[in-house]
């Protein structure tokens, strides 16, 4: 029974619970047993709140039976990335500086999922403050890729992606500042979506790069992804950059049809540095969509290589400002021995933050400092405008842009952190999407010779999630089952 339950997608499980064939506590126990069995090996979670989840599952079941809870995810266990506030549950951002932080409120996206009936299992591991591409900068240990435990799950939402792949939850939330949902989804063989900036409220998401951060789902398939997005999207007065989106009924777009859809493949995404196996799998996926009636063409996007330096300037600048709040006064870590206020700030922060976080805070402080602001920060904002313009021109011709998610499959554990710039280069196909505010989705499209998953990335114009979901769903239907680790 347990193994059977775990094979259901989130929507399938919700239907079974609704039909009375499975109960919410049964679904939860199946997941908790799987966590018990696999977690020692994979380490997807920073915190598992078994007790709280059991109480909640019981409560949800009673409400379902009473007919008072009819939400789309009633009784479905969910995992949340540890940079989203969860009221009463430890929220660390995988950092020592928040090692004992218990939020007094929940993030809006989390609240919406709970209103839809989801049962929160726990908080997933991540790169510290979402700064990294491997989940290795976590202060609470590394997460391993369920497909091959000698490899990383990707990052920064590595715990969420691995938990979905390992059946340690039915779906998860992640956040994407430069590819942090799409890249781990690609490495772990699951579907991950970054919505258009402003679609999902950032209220309660611990900020990294505020102009780039966006919450999104990591799921077993495209249908679950559309259904989760439908729940968490929507205007929130508590987030001043939140946008009123007209039609958030994304499941309406789960339509197997791309006839006449114009898909552009940027030639500049298939140049040097791209693993030939990734290239072949992604181009094969393009052929599948062509066979389904899409019009597929190559084009030159331009400016691709400038996206990485542009992104790291802006993200570091915003991070240095956002992370000023961690000062050891009202919450979080405070150093033991200090004399006076300023030494206390400095010591608490220096002991509380890890190396990658400090590296980005230092860089961000530098590019914002007087004398360098124009040359670095302002220059990056101008390049961002050029990158946005290049995408605008592309979307004047195409409905969807198709390419790889990452240049390679998941690297081996311990191979990435020694050379930060080399690691940043792995973000080349994902970060421009954040700079331009666009939606992007990662769908599994093949495996390399080691059996590691390869992801297909589809990018849409702002607020064209419906088109993206239709294209992704059509591809997934043609591809068939992808399988699990």
């Amino acid at each position: 029974m347990k193994k059977e339950i775990l094979q259901y997608t989130a929507l399938e499980l919700a239907a079974k619970i609704k039909a009375g064939e499975v109960t919410a506590p049964e679904a939860l126990e199946a997941v908790l047993a799987q966590i018990e069995e696999k977690e020692k090996e994979y380490h997807c979670y920073v915190t598992v709140d078994a007790e709280g989840a059991r109480a909640r599952a019981k409560e949800v079941q009673a409400q379902i039976e009473a007919g008072t809870l009819t939400g789309p995810f009633a009784g479905v266990p969910v995992a949340i990335k540890d940079n989203m506030n969860t009221q009463g549950i430890l929220t660390t951002c995988s950092s020592k500086i928040l090692g004992n932080f218990i939020p007094t409120f929940s993030a809006e996206a989390v609240k919406k999922l709970e209103e839809a009936g989801a049962v929160l299992i726990g908080k997933t591991n991540m790169d510290e403050f979402a700064m990294g591409s491997t989940t290795e900068t976590s202060a609470y240990g590394v997460t391993k890729n369920p497909w091959n435990t000698a490899h990383v799950p990707g990052g920064s939402s590595g715990g969420s992606a691995a938990a979905v792949a390992a059946d340690e939850c039915f779906f998860a939330l992640g956040s994407d500042t430069g590819g942090s949902i799409r890249q781990p989804a690609s490495f772990c063989g699951v579907v991950g979506m970054k919505p258009t900036y402003g679609t999902v409220s950032r209220y309660g998401l611990i900020a990294y790069g505020s102009s780039l951060d966006q919450i999104g789902p990591l799921c077993k398939n495209v249908s679950d992804c559309a259904a989760v997005l439908e729940v968490i999207a929507g205007h929130d007065p508590k987030d001043s950059t939140s946008v009123e989106v007209e039609n958030t009924r994304y499941t309406e777009s789960l339509v197997d049809d791309v006839k006449g859809l114009k898909i552009g493949i940027p030639r500049d995404y298939f140049g040097e540095g791209l693993d030939p196996q990734v290239k072949d799998a992604v181009l094969q996926a393009a052929q599948v969509l062509r066979a389904k009636g899409a019009i597929v063409e190559e084009f030159d996007l331009s400016l691709v290589k400038y996206a990485i330096p542009c992104y790291y300037t802006i993200a570091a600048a915003e991070a240095s400002s956002n992370l000023e709040r961690f000062d050891g006064i009202k919450y979080g870590y405070r150093t033991k021995d200090y004399e006076g206020l300023h030494p206390m700030y400095k010591k608490s922060r220096s002991e509380g933050f890890g190396a990658e976080v400090k590296r980005r805070i230092m860089l961000g402080s530098f590019v914002l400092s007087s004398g360098y602001y124009d040359a670095y920060y302002l220059k990056a904002l101008k390049v961002k405008a050029l990158i946005k313009k290049a995408f605008d021109e592309a979307f004047a011709k195409y409905d969807v842009i198709l390419g790889p998610v990452a240049p390679t499959t998941a690297p081996e554990l311990g191979k990435s952190l020694a050379d930060p710039i080399q690691m940043y280069l792995g973000d080349i196909y994902t970060i421009s999407v954040n700079l331009a505010g666009l939606p992007g989705i990662s769908v599994p499209c093949g495996k390399d010779e080691k059996g590691l998953p390869i992801g297909l990335q589809l990018i849409g114009d702002c607020f064209k999630e419906h088109t993206l979901i239709r294209a992704a769903y059509t591809y997934e239907q043609a591809r068939g089952e992808f399988g699990t680790p």
Binding site: C310, Y333, R349, A380
Partner: protein
């Protein structure tokens, strides 16, 4: 090539409110120099007359009535304090008496 001086790292440390050890400082000088060399690529692009884009969409001020909507979270909030005294956060002296 960007060479970061001791003075610059010292100054950035003050801005960033970070206290780096001698070894960390040397590493930070190297890392920042390399990163700035990399970022300098942006100089290849002509951005004369380009308006800096801080937000992708037009952002405007969002106003609301100043009404309290959250309850009294004092106890939960103070429970997170590294050090508290009754209903107050304990902080180091911020000025000399």
């Amino acid at each position: 090539m960007n060479v970061i001086s001791d003075e610059t790292i010292e100054y950035v440390g003050i801005l960033a409110k970070l206290e780096l050890s001698g070894e960390e400082k040397e590493q930070a000088k190297k890392d920042m120099g390399r990163m700035l060399d990399y970022i300098d690529q942006l100089g290849e692009l002509d951005t004369d007359g380009v308006e800096p884009m801080s937000h992708v969409f037009k952002v405007h001020n969002v106003f609301r009535e100043d009404v309290v909507v959250n309850g009294d979270g004092r106890e939960d909030t103070l429970a997170n304090a590294p050090e508290r005294s009754g209903d107050s956060f304990v902080v180091p002296p911020t000025f000399d008496m």
